[in-house]
């Protein structure tokens, strides 16, 4: 062992010391600078890879725009102090086990104050840890809600309930269409959506030409699925909430097998590709629920989403026009609600923000003022529900045809929805 007196100044230690001294300002100064700044971290826990990535990754891309804009404007003023917003993301691959690992990391290591999820297949992995930590979590799929999920909110998408607006609009504008068929992947996303479409068709007086067709999520060839769907010559082909990777081949198959009727779908992500692979004429009039945000109808004063057209332009500039998906704006709209609630609460703590967000039972949803709702369907009023757009493909471009009220439909037809949800085992007290 060397004694202190025996340590001599070698060339190596001299160089190391000199290098350390040179690097010290680079390392130390930003730390001193960041120490002056308040930072709030938001967790993003959604599929960034795999077949469901189209409903995660574009949302994270949208959130980056939101965070950049907020931080460039000086951050969020909370409790009299400006907060910089940082995003911490974790790829849950739409898997409950990975979502649990991700939630643990985001809470313990990243110290996030709020977690945004796609939900559905991944939520069961997070449920326990969210309850134990009191972490506020948002889902795009309110079918995750139960009376026990008190810190889980669905402040943007009321999937699949908004699908009723598309059917309602279709029935009002095309009263000649009388029969429908529906297909979906056999999972937590497809089934409640099928129940919703069945209720909406029944409410509109449209009969089902054949029972709902559930296919394996691992399906790669959709020709047999489409052959079966078209066997009874339906007027309406409903693609339910099929994943983006399924909607395209299903539409192609419908085109190739000579379908001439109307198509309705929850989403139509990357629809330009589908138009390219079929034809403008074939896709004309296809109805779905997710607008492009360059739509002028979104400049209506009742719309609460901030600068939708500019957001779309920035998104296209950064990532390309064909990268826009159903969720590109959704997580950002949730961040709007969170920021507004945090400002009103004067705190970033999840419990305070949640109370402020639900204050008065009303909230500013992206598509207009809405109310916290859901007790009759989910056992808890944690879904923000109001108007939702009906989008139609016109000349190869998604166009908002009309905004329709979900609560109005519910008030008239709620029991039908409960009946079909119950039949498919999708009520909150039936799900395992």
């Amino acid at each position: 062992m060397k004694s202190a007196s025996s340590i001599s100044l070698t060339r190596r230690s001299l160089l190391t010391g000199a290098a350390s001294a040179a690097l010290l300002p680079l390392v130390g100064m930003p730390k001193a600078s960041f120490a002056q700044e308040n930072v709030v971290k938001i967790g993003f826990l959604a599929p960034l890879t795999g077949p469901v990535a189209a409903w995660g990754k574009p949302g994270l891309d949208g959130c980056k725009i939101w965070a950049d804009w907020v931080n460039e404007a000086g951050g969020i003023e909370i409790g009299g102090k400006p907060y910089k917003v940082e995003l911490a993301s974790y790829d849950d691959e739409d898997d409950a086990g990975k979502a649990r690992t991700g939630a643990t990391q985001l809470i313990r290591e990243n110290d996030v104050k709020f977690i945004m999820m796609l939900g559905g297949n991944s939520w069961p992995g997070v449920e326990e840890i969210a309850a134990r930590q009191g972490m506020m979590v948002s889902t795009l799929l309110p079918s995750d809600l139960t009376p026990d999920t008190t810190t889980l909110i669905a402040p943007c998408e009321v999937h699949p309930i908004y699908n009723v607006t598309g059917v309602d609009w279709l029935a009002a504008n095309h009263p000649d269409l009388k029969t429908a068929v529906v297909c979906a992947q056999d999972d937590a996303l497809g089934k409640p959506s099928v129940a919703t479409y069945l209720a909406a068709f029944e409410a509109a007086g449209i009969t089902m030409a054949s029972p709902p067709l559930f296919f394996d999520p691992a399906t790669t060839d959709f020709a047999p699925v489409m052959t079966q769907l078209l066997a009874n010559n339906p007027d309406i082909l409903c693609l339910d909430t099929c994943y983006a990777d399924y909607v395209q081949p299903l539409c192609e198959q419908a085109f190739q097998q000579g379908y001439k009727g109307k198509i309705i779908s929850c989403t139509l992500d990357f629809y330009q590709r589908i138009v390219e692979r079929t034809s403008k004429e074939f896709m004309e009039g296809v109805i779905f629920q997710f607008p492009d945000f360059d739509d002028k109808a979104l400049n209506d004063p009742r719309i609460n989403f901030k600068k939708p057209n500019e957001f779309f332009a920035e998104y296209v500039k950064r990532y390309g026009a064909t990268e826009w998906s159903a969720v590109s704006w959704e997580y950002s709209s949730i961040l709007d609600l969170w920021a507004d609630a945090a400002q009103r609460a004067g705190s970033v703590e999840p419990a305070d923000v949640l109370v402020a967000m639900k204050e008065g039972g009303k909230g500013k949803h992206a598509f207009g003022d809405a109310r916290w709702w859901g007790k009759d369907l989910f056992g808890i009023d944690n879904a923000l529900v109001g108007d939702w757009p009906v989008v139609v493909i016109r000349d190869g471009k998604a166009t908002i045809a009309e905004f329709r009220s979900i609560p109005e439909w519910w008030d008239k037809n709620g029991q039908l929805l409960v009946k079909h949800m119950t039949d498919l085992g999708q009520m909150w007290n039936q799900r395992t």
Partner: protein, 288 residues
């Protein structure tokens, strides 16, 4: 109803074609090298991405891109043989684990090179054949024709050429083949090239129909394993017959019932074959 049945036959023929290509490649590799190649689905994926690169990005004619994809994926197979399977020849379990590692490497490379999202491959043709009320698109017809052509060529190659005899000899008894002067290394290289290239062609030909993604290999490998078990592990004829049988059963059940039941029926088919004929339809019973 006849149109409906004919449409289902068209659908099943297409499914049988590309699955036969994949399964025959898998059987060839197993037969000659004794390795269960878990990365075979990713070779199929590599073929599909070859189309993205050569056809979509580089603008080459589709069938030129398919030919280049065949060579590219065949070379990937040779790379696997040289770097993974040859050093682990005496350790079949090691080869299997190495193939799983290679599977992950190929997936990661696909993500790094092409991104996470499905790639859009523009239609090669929008033409279709109409028979009564049933349709068969040219794109699907090309897959069927390519399969018939390639499998016929493979049949004659194995039966009539010196290299084909060497492959069959190695598949029957590697040590005896070596004693006859057949190079095991060279034969293994041929087997990997051909087996990988067949998977690559399947991926390349179906790329416009499936929208390639880094994880597309998962969906076919399980089915391919079911097919080679039903056909008899190591039997090329068995793989073709089982691919046709499985595809027709699966497609008809999907069309008349649903896809979930079709998967169950497919597994039941495998179970029934294993109970009645444990070595598979065309498999040879091993001597005790």
């Amino acid at each position: 109803m006849p149109d409906f049945l004919l449409q289902t036959v068209f659908n099943a023929s297409y499914a049988a074609s590309y699955m036969a290509l994949i399964a025959v490649g898998l059987v060839l590799i197993f037969g000659v090298m004794g390795v269960i190649n878990f990365a075979h689905g990713e070779l199929y994926m590599a073929g599909a991405y070859a189309i993205v690169f050569f056809y979509v990005w580089s603008g080459l004619p589709f069938f030129v891109a398919v030919a280049l994809g065949l060579v590219f994926v065949g070379c990937l197979g040779i790379l696997m043989e040289l770097t993974l399977f040859r050093p682990l020849r005496t350790n079949p379990l090691g080869g299997l684990i190495a193939s799983i590692g290679f599977l992950l490497i190929l997936q990661t490379l696909a993500v790094l090179g092409f991104g996470l999202r499905n790639q859009n491959v523009p239609p090669v043709s929008q033409g279709r054949i109409t028979v009564g009320g049933a349709f068969l698109t040219y794109e699907r017809l090309y897959v069927i024709i390519a399969t018939i052509g390639l499998l016929t060529a493979l049949y004659f190659f194995l039966r009539k050429s010196k290299f084909g005899w060497a492959l069959r000899a190695c598949a029957q008894d590697r040590e005896a083949a070596a004693l006859q002067g057949i190079s095991i290394n060279q034969t293994a290289r041929y087997a990997m090239f051909i087996g990988a290239a067949l998977a690559g062609v399947a991926g390349a030909m179906t790329a416009p129909l499936v929208a390639p993604s880094p994880y597309m290999g998962h969906s076919v490998i399980v089915t391919a394993f079911i097919i080679i078990i039903v056909g008899g592990i190591g039997s090329l004829e068995g793989a073709v017959v089982a691919a046709v049988l499985y595809a027709f059963v699966h497609t008809f059940v999907t069309t008349f019932y649903d896809g979930v039941i079709a998967n169950i029926v497919g597994l039941l088919l495998m179970l029934a074959v294993l109970v009645v004929k444990p070595q598979g339809l065309f498999g040879v019973r091993e001597r005790a």
